[in-house]
């Protein structure tokens, strides 16, 4: 009796362990999966290429005097892993790698696509454990953290000896990647925000299209006229969002998210609160799907399925528009002014190099190439993003003349504000989201929510 009981207990314990190990295994396989995803990631030197390389290398061995006639620089070799998150830019990067391999046939570029939601978690884990990609996309909210965490390779010296010139890129964005006097990346692209709208819905409702000189009141008014009572069409999407939402209206209202010295939150200022309030007012007016509906099905998806007449989106949204069935009935317009003032957030990504990369030379050559003219032109051509190099942005505009894309260039030049960031941006942005979502769901008052943000944000900033 006793023995059996013990046996059962032991068995239970083993099985519990087993289930735990099972967990571990599944964790392991998921890692493996991502590992295999890595190997599956478009191997840019396509199957045919290595053979060709082999052939040429055999030839070269046959008469080694011909070494340089292959047309590229064979002296640098190695693998460069490049992590990024935007699937829409995959083909642009593939083309870049192709061009790059013409110059440096012995450098193998391996693209590692990620999902936005997991990118930063994975990147930080990789940086801590040393398995991080050699080159990876960086953004404004995270650059300070990574630079001060000593993960990135400064490129000042490399820039000196290169043909690249910092002054050929938007100054605000170059400075975004300059931390404590050291340059860590050049901007690869830039983006600003506009209002994308569905012309068909405007036509059906007999509402004239918005123009670049419109105001927030015009927009709210149109949204009301465009909303159908049965919930099949809403005038606008008003989700809780930062870069394509409140950040723009906060600046336009004369407020700030974070003080210039990055020591305190701007959420206790009435102007900042007004920039949030105007969105919540759209929710109250019922001209947008509810905030939770927009969480369950994101605003861009609802817009592209024809449920929203207007959608605030970045210039990067163009790629999705071009991919959609509605591409012929969509256009874009500048953001509306608030009390006569316009503002858009400007942001741009940079390609950073891991400081302990095994192939620093190859990694730099790749980054240098991506900052150069060929890559910027490819970016314009594929419509992936507005290239940051001076003179190449026009290519992006002219590529798709059906849309009012000039508005993004104009706003970047006339009224753009750098993306607000400090060392622990991701943390206080999470507190910001936790509190403001309650205001967007009409559960708490905007003022109350903003003051809670200010308090928690100041706590984070005090520890920086």
């Amino acid at each position: 009796m006793k023995k059996k009981q013990l046996l059962a207990l032991g068995l239970a314990a083993i099985m519990v362990m087993g289930s735990l190990v099972g967990c571990g295994n599944s964790g392991g396989t998921s890692e493996k999966e991502s590992g295999s995803a890595d190997t599956e990631t478009e191997d840019i030197t396509t199957d045919a290429d290595p053979d060709e390389n082999q052939d040429t290398s055999v030839d070269e061995e046959a008469d080694s005097s011909d070494n340089e006639t292959a047309g590229g620089d064979n002296s640098i070799s190695g693998e460069v892993r490049h992590a990024f998150w935007d699937a829409a830019q995959q083909s642009y990067l593939e083309k870049c790698a192709e061009e790059f391999n013409k110059l440096y046939p012995n450098i193998k570029i391996t693209l590692e696509p990620n999902v936005w939601d997991e990118y930063w978690t994975k990147l930080e884990a990789g940086a801590t454990g040393g398995s991080i990609a050699d080159v990876f996309w960086m953004n404004g909210p995270n650059i300070t953290k990574y630079a001060q965490g000593d993960i990135l390779m400064p490129i000042d010296d490399l820039l000196e000896s290169s043909d690249l010139d910092k002054s050929n890129y938007p100054e605000g964005l170059v400075n975004l990647y300059n931390i404590d006097g050291k340059q860590y990346a050049l901007p690869k692209d830039f983006d600003t925000i506009g209002v994308w709208y569905n012309k068909q819905i405007f036509d059906d409702a007999g509402v004239p299209y918005p123009t670049d000189d419109w105001t927030w009141e015009d927009m709210a008014d149109m949204a009301k006229q465009l909303t159908k009572d049965d919930g099949s069409v809403y005038g606008i999407g008003a989700p809780y969002d930062t870069q394509v939402g409140i950040y723009n209206t906060i600046y336009a209202s004369g407020g700030e998210i974070i003080s210039a010295d990055k020591k305190s939150s701007g959420y206790d200022q009435p102007e900042t609160q007004a920039g949030v309030e105007c969105w919540v007012d759209l929710q109250k007016a019922g001209v947008s799907p509810s905030a939770s509906s927009l969480v369950e099905t994101a605003a861009n998806v609802q817009f592209l399925s024809g449920r929203l007449a207007m959608y605030w989106g970045g210039s990067w949204f163009l790629a999705q528009v071009l991919d959609s069935d509605l591409k012929d009935q969509i256009d874009v317009v500048e953001l509306p002014s608030i009390n006569g003032k316009k503002a858009t957030v400007i942001h741009g990504l940079g390609n950073c190099i891991y400081k302990d990369t095994k192939n620093p030379e190859a990694a730099w050559k790749w980054v240098e190439f991506l900052a150069g003219e060929t890559a910027n032109e490819l970016s314009a051509e594929t419509g992936a993003a507005i290239p940051a190099l001076k003179g190449t942005a026009e290519g992006w505009v002219n590529k798709n003349t059906n849309y009012n894309l000039q508005s993004f260039i104009k706003s970047s030049e006339e009224y753009s504000y750098a993306y607000p960031a400090s060392a622990n941006t991701a943390e206080w942005e999470q507190y910001q989201a936790d509190n403001l979502k309650k205001a967007f769901n009409l559960e708490v008052d905007v003022k109350e929510a903003c003051e809670a943000v200010a308090e928690q944000m100041n706590e984070v900033l005090a520890n920086e």
């Binding site: 519990v16 801590t128 965490g149 939770s292 969480v295 099905t297 449920r307 507190y431 979502k437």
Partner: protein
């Protein structure tokens, strides 16, 4: 003679240890080491890229004053109270039904077991779409019946129950198979004797099957309970971090994850993990003690 025996014993031991080494090493690297590391980290302030600073018991003090922690613990208890009984009852009923001679029972065994061999993430993705407040099939059916749409996953009143249902759905099949094995291990002679005495199916179930399957039931209960306390993937996959229902659905493990990876407070997160570990440990020990009261070992 004696010595030779000892020697051969030593050799046997060596072989035995060699055989279990892979598993023990695996456990050591992936379980025991992290467990100690988490314990160690819980006394530190762990910043970005694992920079540590000793803070003593500060994380624990903060934890017990954190209302969100208590809410997450409360949610976890709710999950346990909903999921564990539901899984036990449904899987036991299914197992006894599938033990009878009904037609197509192998087919049904496979059908019920399929969720167990499906990835949790895939299950959560599919259910998230079925539950979708605007485009989900469940709301489509509700609308056909003339009812209002429900935002299952965004409404703080329905979200937790909706997630629990997915968990029940996906874990029942596995537990059913274990219970089925337990039921089949019961000697046929009991049933024969009972039917001679004129006991019907329900009486047989109550007085033979149920008491004799308790050892298996006990095992299923402990594993389901531990699994439910550690609920993570369904919630993580189904609830967007900006969802209004996040606070009212997040389990301790989700709250741990968010602290570790979204708020970058790994030290505090470690303290949460240690606390959860202690809770599960206490409950499991309690259950082990209680088993004498209701588990029958033949």
């Amino acid at each position: 003679m004696n010595r030779g025996k000892k020697k051969s014993h030593a050799k046997e031991y060596a072989w035995g240890y060699a055989m279990i080494a892979p598993l023990v090493l695996g456990l050591g690297v992936f379980y025991f080491y992290p467990v100690f590391k988490v314990f160690f980290d819980s006394f530190h302030d762990v910043g970005a890229f694992n920079k540590r600073k000793w803070v003593g018991l500060a994380n624990y003090q903060k934890m017990f004053q954190d209302p969100v922690m208590w809410q997450s613990l409360g949610n976890t208890v709710k999950y346990v109270l909903i999921i564990v009984p539901a899984v036990l009852i449904i899987s036991l009923v299914l197992a006894s039904l599938l033990n009878t001679g009904i037609k197509g029972r192998s087919f049904f065994r496979v059908v019920y077991f399929i969720p167990a061999v499906t990835m949790g993430a895939a299950i959560a993705m599919i259910w998230r779409w079925m539950y979708n407040g605007d485009y989900g099939i469940l709301n489509y059916i509700l609308n056909l019946l003339g009812l209002e749409s429900v935002q299952f996953l965004s409404n703080t009143k329905t979200a937790l129950v909706s997630i629990s249902m997915v968990s029940v759905w996906s874990t029942t099949g596995y537990n059913m198979i274990i219970l089925l094995a337990g039921i089949q291990g019961i000697s046929k002679s009991y049933y024969e004797a009972a039917s001679i005495d004129g006991a019907n199916g329900i009486n047989q179930f109550r007085h033979i099957t149920l008491p004799l399957v308790t050892p298996t039931l006990f095992f299923v209960m402990i594993t389901t309970l531990i699994g439910t306390f550690q609920t993570f993937d369904t919630i993580y996959m189904m609830i967007n971090k900006n969802s209004i229902a996040m606070e009212s659905t997040q389990s301790m493990v989700v709250y741990f994850y968010r602290n570790a990876f979204e708020y970058s407070k790994k030290g505090y997160a470690s303290a949460l993990a240690v606390f959860l570990f202690v809770i599960i440990m206490v409950i499991t020990v309690f259950q082990m003690k209680m088993q004498n009261k209701w588990v029958n070992y033949e």
